[in-house]
Symmetry: C2
Subunit: 334 residues, 2 copies
DNA sequence: CTGAAAGCGCTTACAG
DNA sequence: CTGAAAGCGCTTACAG
């Protein structure tokens, strides 16, 4: 079946392509009633659908943004992504999601690919290891916003959780419940990922604030696959921690697996609190106390800021970082 | 910053645009070594990136597919979608995901929008209520594959679970464990959604096969928000079921919430088995016995079939349905 | 109020 | 081995 084009419609309606185009773009200002009718009829008769690729080429706008996430496995990522899509759809923008899998090479490939596809802007959960590329986008005045993580010395606006506050909330709650031996486990920090560093930082400050002894053996970071081992070390210390802060959802899951396997009772033998309000927290037994991120708001903000940059053309970042408040969800695991 | 185009490269290298284009498309057959060098140098010097939109317009292929899911909230959906993206990325295709939210109007909008954007094909989890549109795609020889659901009398190839088998597996296991009073709850069937209908069908057959009494009070379908009420009815019957098959992940979650709120012990007071191997099944207490769908394989197959149709141009569907085997994951909830 | 013409940035037969 | 020209399907000043 041959595609019907604007030329076919013009012929059918006995007007010029320009007129059809005007009609399509709702520029009715000077269009005669009868002309409008004719064009409308021709479009319906032929089942015409405009070719957006052609329009994009001319208008230099694809009404599409790219989202490059670091790791799609986090619930945080899926929820934020969902919010971005919702917001964009509301503004008639499409969204292409790519998963960099924490791999800078993949991230590079996606950034280049997406820009070649002429997406109007990019939301990136940066791996942090493509500084030249990030800088180039800045130099090109290309619309970008970072999400979840920021990159040292790259002044791209970033939408972030107040991560220090998140672990402070966790520690405060634990202390209030009478715990003093408190450990924290995060995923790997070898790449200096913002939220992990800041959560450890916040933990340490909170410990000090409460006049507790900061024990560096109580702070562990590792790949998810190694977390069970780290936990094992932790709980076999001479004076093991009595409470654990899980740095994110993946860590929490590993903790829960370990706990189940070793028949440890929560919270009697070990108190557990997780950052990221996992889906099963409320109906798990015991229900898990967590620190929730406002994922929906954060995604919406990122999309809003990006679409704003896109429409303004001027990319001025007088306020590069947006910090969001975490929220304590008290349940039964501490 | 002005975009650098193929014309700039040509000027810089002192060759024609055609030659640059040949180079970009790796048609080196007749290209002189020095020419190649010159072009390469010019591209690097200018930091040239081809404009894929222009290429797409000419080539009538965007190397992008659309995926319209019925409801992004199912883990099945997110996992399958992930598999599709992985497979497509491997073939240098991009993926645009849209969530129809079980709303036929949204589905219609996305199908039209995506086709207008010239995506090369579509994977759809059909709502079932846009028959004319589905038929039109068939008439247009437009590449489509259905996923999770099929639509009566619309011969589009569909990638499906063997749903009857799934509930049979569940019932068989329950019966083997000594249960005879077995109920099933699914999400709403008012729209005749394939998997729900087939799962109820399979349940009924299995019940009969085991010589058990088929009790229609034991079969419930409802929106997620009403499932708690249905459960309440079910368990307050004169002879309530002693085991429940949860028709999908969302139903399972509602069941678990209900169970927790009412302090019902699993499996002592109520055996529970869910279709969809939810993320927390293995470390929940008790660990949940489930029937798993091969989500990764199903997504891969859908993508494979679609890309195949796209490359063949000929859309012949001599084998419209692909059925996948569910797998019983025995744990502690029954 | 409507149309002719140029142009967006590529690709591709075809000529030489 | 390389280039001139046409064309993909639109939009948009501009002329009338």
């Amino acid at each position: 079946m041959r595609k019907v084009t604007i030329a076919d419609v013009a012929a059918q309606a006995n007007v010029s392509k320009s007129t059809v185009s005007q009609y399509l773009n709702k520029r009715y200002d000077y269009m005669g009633e009868k002309t409008k009718e004719k064009v409308k009829a021709a479009i319906e008769e032929l089942g015409y659908q405009p070719n957006i690729v052609a329009r994009s080429l001319k208008q230099k706008s694809t009404k599409t943004i790219g989202v490059i996430v670091a790791n799609i496995l986090h619930t945080f990522t899926t929820e934020v992504t969902r919010a971005i899509e919702d917001f964009c759809n509301g503004s008639d923008f499409h969204t292409i999601i790519c998963n960099a899998d924490d791999d800078p090479d993949k991230e590079k490939h996606y950034i280049e690919m997406l820009r070649a596809k002429q997406v109007d802007g990019l939301i990136i959960f940066p791996t942090g290891n493509n500084r030249e590329l990030y800088q180039r986008m800045l130099d090109d005045q290309y619309p970008v916003v970072f999400l979840d993580r920021s990159v040292q010395d790259i002044p791209v606006s970033a939408v972030l959780l107040d991560n220090e506050k998140a672990s402070q909330l966790a520690v405060d709650h634990l202390v209030q419940k009478g715990y003093e031996k408190i450990g924290i486990i995060t995923t790997s920090i070898i790449n200096h990922i913002t939220p992990r560093l800041e959560r450890i930082q916040g933990y340490e400050e909170a410990i000090r604030k409460h006049g507790l002894q900061l024990n560096e053996n109580y702070v562990k970071s590792a790949e998810p696959s190694e977390i069970q081992d780290r936990l094992n070390e932790l709980l076999n210390l001479d004076t093991p921690p009595e409470a654990i802060v899980a740095g994110n959802d993946l860590v929490l899951i590993e903790v829960l697996k370990y706990v189940k396997q070793n028949h440890i009772r929560i919270p009697e033998e070990l108190a557990v609190i997780g950052i990221d309000d996992v889906s099963f927290a409320s109906f798990y037994t015991p229900a898990i106390t967590t620190v929730a991120q406002p994922t929906f708001k954060m995604g919406k903000m990122a999309a809003e800021v990006l679409l704003d940059k896109i429409s303004k053309k001027k990319i001025k970042d007088d306020r590069p970082d947006f910090r969001f408040e975490p929220k304590l969800m008290v349940r039964d695991s501490v």
